[in-house]
Amino acid sequence: MRTDEKKYESIISNIDWALIGCAFVLSLVGLIAVYSTTLHTGEPATFVFRQMLALAIGLIFCILIIMVNYQLLLGLSYYIYGIGILLLVSLLFFGTQIRGTRAWFNLGFFYFQPVEITKLIFIIALSTYLSSNWKNIFRLNRLFFPMALLFFNVGLILLQPDFSSAIVYFPIFILMIYFAGANVWHTLHIVLFGVISAGIPLLSTYIKIKHPAFIRTSVGGFFYRGSYDINTALIILFSISVLLLLIWWFIHKLKIKLPLVFIVGIILVLFAGSFSSFVVSRSLKEYQRKRFIVFVAPEIDPLGAGYNIDQSKVAIGSGKFFGKGLFSGSQVGLGFLPEQHTDFIFSSIGEEVGFVGSSFILAIYFLFIWRILVIVKDSKDRGGSLVAIGIAVMFVFYLLINVGMTLGLAPVTGLPLPFLSYGGSAIVSAWVAVGILESIYSRRFTY
């Protein structure tokens, strides 16, 4: 008993209060912002109460997880991963469908979104594998297992289908294996795979909307059919493969040494990427494709998807230096801002508290991320560092894409702003992440 008490004392004295402080300030700002953005609905109290409840649950989880040694989590990570997969599978059968996506469990008092937790589980499981196989991770065959972890997770999420939640897995995966010591060429092949699987559906949508004349040509029509018809796709893939092999043969004859494995690798990635693009294509909804296209070519749809970005920019820009004052934003209060309490909450902050307030928020995020990077550095083992860097990549990705989206610098992907956006599961998940980080940090001196 005495040693236990001592242990907890040492944990509490070694906690990074700056990290928790940042997260807490952001959560409080989030509560105020949610109140302001739901005022026009007439019942802001309901929204704020739900958000507070989620915050409370998140804090409890956070404290609990700080108490648990993260090494224990790492040790059990494959079992936890299994539970996560079970959650995702049962979601497909028992989940509640909202706006065409089966992503929530109805828990009576609130909807629980498992994907918010499974991405943390994925980070832990990946860290476990990478830290125990670090010596050989530069070998390609050691990447098959991590790829399987990724594949099951992302595949099940795309079946919901929830494209935006699936995106975040890729930067986490790629940067984690890279930091853990994977071969750069292997990493690039995986990036190419990701680009092909997301790129084919988006490119075909883009061509369909922007250059319909191209599809009407015989060559264009053939390639376009390849984006959804598997037989056509196979013909195209085989011809490209033959072409690549011929090029290799030609180069080989010129006595330039280029390993055949390299070409075979590219061909494999091409095939794999194209097949997974069929899955992605099915999970992508029409409006999501459109949003991406609008980001590339905003003139296509000024009153549809482009309207959201435009109104968001008007909201932020009109805040000027000091903002229009708390609760007095007209873009927010009169409903011109879309999705204002979830994805576009940063726009309402920009409008109501101006440059001063919004850059202050960004400064807190900066401090928050900086503290995570300190944890990456100070962790006592490789596993802890990898978990922390995975969480850092996740938060940075959410932050940059969300804020970039409200400013019209990134496509509208539907990624929330951590701690601020309305959404119970996301808040709980963010605080669980803080708990894991503190669990790592507070044990940096223990042996």
């Binding site: 670090w134 932020i316 805040g319 920009g350 990456v376 100070d378 970039g404 400013l407």
Partner: protein
């Protein structure tokens, strides 16, 4: 620091992470920079857009400024008419019922109609107009009970009134709505679709001064367009007033005189010393009060005006192009004297016609003027004498002199739609005989009455060219001058002083004893020149230019009577009335008007 691994692996890992940390720093820095860009640098732009998003304005048009003549007589002014608006912001049903009862009592309109408007307004969430053009009594009754009339408000609409509409119609112009083609060119000046703008004349020229700034009720709307609450009332700002150099009485005299001839016509007078335009009339005029009415009562007006064979919409003063006829003999005379091609005592014999090659040119006087010297030929406008001069001068030389007097250019008076005359620099076909026709102002020569008046003023000034102007000054409602015109010399035609003396002496002779005797005024020395312009489409146009008094000219005048016939018989008497009116002389010799002294 990892406890179980060697330092080198740890350092390798940290190095990779650090490299990527810079990406994050750069991205975050860029986001803050971009926030700065759209919130601080482009903040005003986005702020205006957000205001535009939320504020719907029920426009209350600003009253246009008043237009005065030189003696401060009102030519055009705007008056307000009032309408009743209903705002659907009150939610209580009983107060709405009470309001509709009271309003129907005041307006003397059926209650069902009023409550119909109101329920429509509440359903759509938008403001509606219940009644327009309130009488004084209705207006006061509503104002009196304003507090008990929930949701009722009064809004003003301005209406334009023109006085002396017919005589001033071309000068002042008329109003219309700004349309797409107008906005394509002028939207940057703050015009919006449906704005009332000056379509022609002074209304058009000084529209930016006259129009003022619209006000209205700003109402906050949500994204669905529902009116949420009353936000602000902006007082419409009345436009600035414009004072013209025009003399109302002179306008009336001229318009009546032209109308009495039974022909369309135009008259323009300029104060020679300053360039101030005193008279600007084109007849027939039109009822400019009817030209634009917001409630579309003007359709009949436009049908009538457009179908009228006398073309009342044609502004003959600045856009009507006429051959100058014998008035051009002034140019011929100047050219001949300047080049020394003729002396005062050079005599030619006129037997009524002139043969050149196989062509015969006639004099207007069939029996001929017999043997004449230069002065006699000018005063009696002998064509044959001038045919001979024309031959000596040559066509190109003649045209060059016409250009010296700017007869091919716009006078650049501050009036829109001015046309420039046409003086070709070379004749397309000249077999030697064309200068004969040119010398008496026929051929491919076209001028506007305004140009001729300006021409007369240049002679009155002995070569000094003043820029003509119609606007004296623009001043605000509190009498602060905003812009004003002052005399501006824009050029000078240098001729020997003796040549000016001769020309003016001859022009005096035209009125005293020549073709312009119909304009002779007892006690006032008038210098003038008659013109009868041959018109291939009908009767000759009667023209007369003059200035008076001869030595210290106060007024230079041009009169045109379309298809009027002889200049001396038709145009000169009109000029006489105008001059007498301006110089405050009562015309005595009325008999003279009925006699023809030649062209």
């Amino acid at each position: 620091m990892w406890q179980k691994d060697s330092l080198i692996y740890y350092q390798d890992f940290i190095k990779k992470v650090e490299k990527w940390t810079y990406f994050f720093f750069a991205a975050l820095f860029f986001l803050i920079f971009y926030l700065f860009f759209i919130q601080i640098i482009k903040g005003d732009y986005y702020w205006k857009r957000s205001e535009k998003n939320r504020l719907y304005v029920i426009v209350e048009k600003s009253p246009r400024g008043t237009i005065f003549d030189s003696m401060d007589r009102v030519i055009a002014e705007s008056s307000l008419s009032h309408s009743v608006l209903f705002y659907p912001f009150s939610k209580s049903n009983s107060s709405i019922k009470e309001t509709s009862e009271r309003i129907s009592g005041i307006l003397k309109q059926p209650k069902s109609k009023i409550s119909g408007f109101m329920s429509e307004s509440i359903k759509s969430g938008k403001v509606v107009q219940i009644a327009k053009r309130l009488t004084r009594e209705q207006l006061f009754a509503i104002k009196e009970h304003q507090n008990s009339l929930h949701g009722i408000s009064i809004s003003g609409i301005s209406k334009r009134n023109y006085y002396g509409a017919l005589q001033n119609s071309h000068l002042i112009g008329y109003l219309g709505e700004a349309d797409q083609s107008f906005l394509r060119h002028y939207a940057h000046l703050g015009y919006k679709l449906g704005d009332v703008i000056g379509k022609s004349g002074v209304e058009n020229q000084y529209d930016l001064h006259l129009k003022g700034a619209d006000g209205g009720w700003q109402i906050e709307v949500d994204v669905l367009g529902k009116h949420k609450r009353f936000y602000n009332y902006l007082n419409p700002q009345k436009g600035n007033n414009v004072k013209l150099s025009i003399d109302w009485e002179l306008q009336k005299t001229a318009y009546d005189a032209i109308s009495q001839t039974g022909h369309p016509g135009a008259a323009v007078a300029i104060e020679a010393s300053s360039g101030r335009v005193l008279l600007f009339v084109s007849a027939p005029g039109f009822e400019s009060n009817l030209a634009f009415q917001q409630d579309e009562e003007s359709a009949g007006f436009w049908r009538d005006v457009c179908g009228d064979p006398k073309k009342p919409l044609l502004n003959r003063a600045v856009a009507g192009l006429y051959p100058p006829g014998s008035i051009f003999k002034i140019i011929t005379l100047i050219a001949a004297l300047k080049e020394g091609l003729v002396a005062e005592d050079t005599k030619f014999f006129c037997d009524g016609k002139f043969n050149f090659g196989d062509r015969t040119f006639k004099c207007w006087k069939k029996e001929g003027h017999r043997r004449m010297d230069l002065r006699g030929a000018f005063e009696n406008s002998c064509n044959v004498y001038f045919y001979q001069l024309g031959l000596k001068i040559g066509s190109e030389n003649l045209l060059r002199h016409a250009k010296i007097f700017n007869l091919d250019k716009k006078t650049s008076v501050d009036y829109p739609q001015e046309k420039s005359g046409n003086i070709p620099s070379k004749l397309t076909q000249d077999f030697g005989g064309e200068s004969i026709n040119l010398a008496i102002g026929q051929g491919p020569l076209l001028t506007t009455p305004f140009q001729l008046a300006h021409f007369a003023s240049i002679i009155a000034n002995r070569g000094k060219i003043m820029k003509p102007f119609i606007m004296d000054k623009v001043f605000s409602y509190d009498n602060e001058t905003i812009v004003s015109n002052s005399p501006l010399q824009v050029g000078e035609i240098t001729l020997e002083s003796s040549l000016w003396d001769k020309l003016i002496k001859y022009m005096r002779g035209v009125v005293d004893s020549g073709t312009g005797r119909a304009c002779y005024i007892e006690g006032v020395p008038v210098a003038g020149k008659t013109g009868t312009a041959q018109n291939p489409h009908g009767d000759d146009h009667a023209l007369f230019v003059c200035f008076a008094p001869e030595q210290e000219p106060r007024i230079a005048l041009a009169v045109l009577i379309e298809n009027g016939g002889s200049g001396g018989a038709v145009a000169a008497p009109v000029a006489k009335k105008i001059l007498s009116r301006y110089l405050e002389v009562t015309p005595t010799d009325t008999k003279a008007t009925s006699r023809d002294f030649g062209n």
